[in-house]
Symmetry: C2
Subunit: 277 residues, 2 copies
């Protein structure tokens, strides 16, 4: 693990690292925010943040303003990249497939399967690395935006024992049924749509044996909502299953980081209710 | 004036505009954050933010997290670009001169004087435009970072009747004496160093007839501090003159937006003490 940069932020430290990922068989970059409590020898819980299409570890770190509240609450933030990267990693020359668009799945199809194993990376490899090298507890929650909202909800629904809570901003909740997901899943997972359901939050919530608290915020002026996002599809399942679930429709807000910054404090305080601080 | 974009942010609106600037004789872009109080018909005071080298109107808008506190306090934020721009505007092919590096002066020397009239733009043209088109009062304060910290302090010291307060993050306080300023001022103002003093905050504070409150934050791990910034030079003059002046040296902080984000709330609350809200 190699330190790329270190910036003091709200009394803690924002650090970027690169390391060889065995899951993705390439070099990966991630960022971690260590709140000031860790300087006093305390171990803190972790919120994992999964970013959306085109992003890397830096978008949330620089634009969301989450460090302020994480510093107050004593929560570490871990921000992985959105895909494997590098000149020998398959790419598609478009924003919604390939590098920057890993969709947090384990690809089974060529040419993607050699490196695109983001599910294993986020669920297993990265938490093991974080817990081995930083002053954190095993308590963790997970959040994300858009494609990363899909990743956060899907990963939490598949691993409810591993996360205390999950939240999302403008998530893709039903990737097996919308254009972004159909393109990515057909490439990464093949044409057999039944295999897509293993990564579809609507399907996973319908079949779930164990619940965990979920919070979603969605802007009503988000141009991607009608076709790609449709959070009401997940809300209907949550209502039918009496799931601990909140969907806030925020009037006037769009898909940008201005939206995320406006509500990230509420998400951190939601997770703080479920994490041992 | 043409609207470029509009994003809902903390209950208010972050908007970007372009317009023809008569001062700079080119198209200029600026951003304004209108806090939620303006939706209720209230006029609010304005904090002008001047960015540093290489920045435009977007860096502070996306990275500082200032909208949250501006929304709470009821202060509009106005964020101009750092220089004239365009294919017919002189440039130098380097980060510290030309486009992105206007230093907030009125250039007198060729080839710069045709468009580089940023002092007039920030002091006169832009406030007149803002006050004509947006629900703001004439109460204003000014802040900035690095080259923009120089701009904010210099402009406030030259116009103490026009601003209620001034603040800066890691400002260039003595541009007539440090390499960044020597390069820019010799190009924009010519080789007669006596003309540089009109834009040098140390000189201006020494000669000032009217005081206004000033707050400066400076990271002690800022690699530019020893050679380019030297805020203690201004502090010594302030002490000698019994100026209402605070210089906070922040341990461990660098020159980045992580530093600005960590202390922007304190700067907004400082300005709120001096503005009629």
């Amino acid at each position: 693990m190699e330190l790329i940069s270190s910036n003091r932020s709200f009394g803690g430290w924002h650090k970027r690292y690169k390391h060889h990922s065995s899951s993705n068989d390439c070099e990966m970059t991630f960022a971690i925010y260590l709140p000031p409590q860790t300087s006093e020898g305390k171990k803190v819980p972790v919120l994992y943040w999964l970013s959306g299409l085109t992003c890397n570890d830096e978008n949330f770190a620089t634009k969301a303003g989450a460090q302020r509240v994480a510093a107050e609450l004593g929560i570490a933030l871990v921000m992985p990249d959105t895909s494997p990267r590098g000149s020998d990693v398959a790419d598609a020359g478009r924003y919604d497939l390939g590098q920057g668009a890993g969709f947090y799945v384990n690809a089974t199809e060529a040419p993607w399967q050699a490196h695109y194993q983001m599910y294993d990376y986020v669920v297993s490899e990265l938490p093991a690395l974080i817990e081995a090298h930083f002053p954190v507890t095993q308590h963790k929650s997970i959040s994300g935006h858009s494609m990363g909202g899909h990743g956060a909800l899907m990963i939490a629904l598949k691993n409810p024992q591993a996360y205390q809570s999950a939240s999302a901003f403008a998530p893709i909740v039903n990737p097996a049924q919308v254009p972004w997901g159909e393109l990515a899943f057909s490439e990464y997972l093949g044409d057999d749509r039944s295999k897509w359901l293993a990564y579809d939050s609507c399907h996973l919530m319908r079949e779930a044996k164990q619940m965990l608290p979920i919070l979603i915020d969605q802007g009503d002026q988000d141009s991607f909502m009608p076709l790609q996002l449709q959070p009401q599809a997940l809300e209907q399942i949550a209502l039918a299953r009496q799931w601990p679930f909140t969907l806030n429709i925020q009037l006037g807000y769009d898909h940008s980081y201005y939206f995320i910054a406006s509500f990230i404090e509420a998400h951190l305080r939601f997770h703080a209710q479920h994490l041992v601080l």
